[in-house]
Symmetry: C2
Subunit: 206 residues, 2 copies
């Protein structure tokens, strides 16, 4: 919340939710609206933000929040320095399902991965929209880098989905032994498995 407000003051909780949905959520997370309101109240209690109710000049009653000097200090204290920011956390339900593939009806996983791929394509469009919304102004420099990262991340996610699809296909129609034919009358029918050895190329110099 402080981060969002550090870009632009005078937002309402509702505004912050929409903003988080449109950009933060791609590389971090967008809290529930109820949590945003709760958190803003908490931050105000801590003196890190202030709020003012809109008067009758606005058609709609709302509460706009502004970050205080203390708030900027607190945010800067968190954002500066090289203290470790911790590993990324990934929860990928689809891969979990694949991991448990032995429990699934054969055709299922393919459907699920394809659905994931389509969803990722949609998300990619959203990222690009967000990226377009940032514009070229210098204050958008870092958000642009973050969203650029997200764009590439989603492209990578698409490739990962395709690769997994290929893996599953390989599993279905011909396990590793390389010596079985006509397993079910249509062996070798699948897409010709885009030549992709197991990558042995780790930049492991570390």
């Amino acid at each position: 919340m402080l981060g969002l407000l550090s870009f632009r003051d005078g937002r309402t909780g509702y505004d912050l939710k929409k903003w988080a949905d449109a950009s933060l959520r791609f590389f971090y997370w967008s809290p529930a609206i109820s949590q945003i309101y709760a958190e803003l109240r908490r931050l105000e209690e801590l003196g890190l933000v202030t709020s003012r109710r809109s008067g009758p000049e606005e058609p709609r009653a709302k509460r706009r929040y502004t970050i205080t000097a203390d708030g900027r200090d607190a945010l800067a204290a968190w954002a500066e320095g090289t203290h470790d920011c911790g590993p990324p956390v990934l929860k990928h339900p689809l891969v979990l399902r694949v991991w448990l593939g032995h429990l699934a009806v054969p055709g299922t996983l393919r459907t699920l991965v394809e659905r994931h791929r389509d969803r990722t394509r949609a998300a990619l469009r959203d990222v690009r929209e967000a990226l377009a919304g940032v514009g070229a102004a210098p204050e958008g420099d870092f958000p642009r880098v973050a969203l650029g990262w997200s764009e590439r991340q989603h492209l990578a996610e698409l490739e990962l989905a395709e690769a997994m699809l290929a893996d599953l296909e390989r599993l279905r129609c011909g396990p590793p032994d390389g010596n079985r034919r006509a397993l079910d009358g249509r062996a070798g029918a699948g897409p010709p498995a885009p030549r992709r050895q197991h990558p042995q190329d780790a930049p492991t110099h570390g």
Copy 2:
């Protein structure tokens, strides 16, 4: 927990924790040990697992858990069918820091990204270790696909880190205008920005 037990019965809570740390965590999540114990008790209450204390035949007193028929049914009900499994959730603190780059002391982000890259390399080694541990047996087929996905995912993460490093460098020594030189006496000194246009290539046929 049910998923883990569906591969191999007779594990202790402690076993499950180690196992989750070694494989589940790469694409999903590894719960705290205290939560594992709590969850196992809950599952037993629901009749989805049973447990037996080890008798004096074992040197150490432990409680081993086994999935019941009901448990298998419940797991299968969850794992079969094509109901949506939901989008992946990513919380990437590093990208969040970058997004707030305007608050950071100039050199900082570079250090953080490099640290992330090193950490990812280490994680990649762990994934490969896990992959080696699965072996070639057919019951490891799906875990192998999931871990293979994780391996590629970590490789992608490395590339994303490098690309972001390049973006940040570009930001530091010469914003888009393309007409500024000798900005700080070492313009153009950085790594020569591995030719990488903004990818316009979205497989967007969806």
